[in-house]
Symmetry: C2
Subunit: 254 residues, 2 copies
């Protein structure tokens, strides 16, 4: 007897940014797995069981969810933002690849969501309006040298850079080092956006220049966007400035 598994992106945190598809997928589940704070955002439907776990235990959480789906239950695994961006969908696929053969028969769907960089970008204007990349600064699962190489490659090639997982208690220096690396390539006036907890009551958006970017403005709930050499800041007398990356390009470091 085989159940089903949905890996669901809840969006950045404001329920108005959760798609109807995602809300329906959660509502239809008998069992919901996720990091505790994400589960706390959700109403518990009648007869539904919530299985909270710690942030670090993604592969274990995926395996437990798959085992439960294999037993015939209808399971949802939730992520903040989009489930496929530095989140649970990859962990579920990895668990299927290395797990028992029967897991490959489970009907598995991924429900996309608004990922953090899109919500942060929207608050600032359109910093992702041209070619861009997303890099996780966590070196728990990759060597730091690889992160540095990617930062250099992306900044040199003219990509706007969205930094996920910029800082944590166990990784206090990586964001500062990242700023050093891109400062060697980009103009010091390049706009940098710190977007924390976007759409939630404790939201905080800060726009600064790369020369002044301060790692103290970032925590675990922050997504940082570093502009390209072409990203512009439009000041407005009575409103916050707009940051955008023009649709046209040509002065890049090609």
């Amino acid at each position: 007897m085989t159940g089903r598994l949905a890996v669901v992106g809840l969006g950045p945190g404001n329920p108005l940014q959760t798609t109807p598809e995602a809300a329906a997928a959660v509502a239809a589940a008998s069992d919901v797995f996720g990091y505790g704070p994400y589960l706390e955002r959700l109403a518990r439907h009648p007869g539904q069981t919530h299985h909270a776990s710690d942030n670090r235990e993604e592969l274990d959480r995926a395996s437990r969810a798959l085992a439960m789906a294999a037993s015939g239950r209808s399971v949802a695994v939730v992520s903040g933002g989009d489930a496929g961006v530095f989140a649970m969908a990859a962990a579920v696929c990895e668990a299927i690849e290395h797990g028992p053969a029967e897991w490959r028969a489970i009907e598995t769907t991924v429900v996309p969501g608004v990922t953090a960089m899109l919500a942060v970008a929207a608050r600032a204007g359109a910093p992702l309006g041209h070619d861009f990349c997303a890099i996780s600064l966590s070196d728990n699962l990759k060597p730091w040298s690889l992160v540095e190489a990617r930062l250099r490659a992306a900044a040199s090639a003219g990509f706007v850079i969205a930094l996920y997982n910029p800082v944590s208690r166990a990784r206090p220096w990586q964001l500062g080092r990242s700023f050093e690396i891109v400062r060697a390539v980009l103009p010091e006036a390049t706009p940098v956006i710190f977007g924390r907890a976007v759409g939630r009551p404790d939201e905080r958006i800060a726009v600064t220049a790369l020369r002044d970017a301060d790692t103290a403005d970032a925590d675990m709930a922050t997504c940082v966007i570093v502009g390209s050499a072409e990203t512009r800041l439009v000041s407005r007398p009575a409103l916050s400035p707009l940051v955008y990356s023009p649709r046209s390009s040509g002065r890049g470091a090609a």
Copy 2:
């Protein structure tokens, strides 16, 4: 008298993937501007005027929307996917920067949405599960040499690559040339995903190997995702294969 302007991302095309925030922003507008096919997806609310325009006229559309907002109307400009990713938000910011000073006083908001690469990735598994980038193949507004340089940089640095605007009647060869460039860097078995019209009735998803990637599988409504050297394909006897990029990395081209 100054009105307001909302730049709204409608999601990939399935109304269940439009956020409640986006739907509310459209419903609240007196005037809605957008590319014709996007407007056709929307219900016209009582008293609301729809202003359709052609795909190529983004800056002109932005300027007309801003002029109408400046006259006191409540205006929405809609994009498919996310409004900030190769879409209208950057055009609106550009128009504000270069337009009359009064446009800087217009209350302008950007409402994010599920961008195409997230919806395509969800259908395939988790190909964007690790560091990735998004590149528009349109060379209408940037030199083609810059696109080639970015493709080389991204593939060499181990980014998964999402290709937007892969092909059009006026740009028939750019996607084929892009495949040539990344073939020089990536293993020939690297998974490539063609996602067309995801979430709509005419959706078509195809997964192939880079060696076999055929530009005939792409049209204007397609987003193409090219894996990194680490992206994996998990075959499933009775289901379509899963494509995912592992959370851990280390064999990249650092």
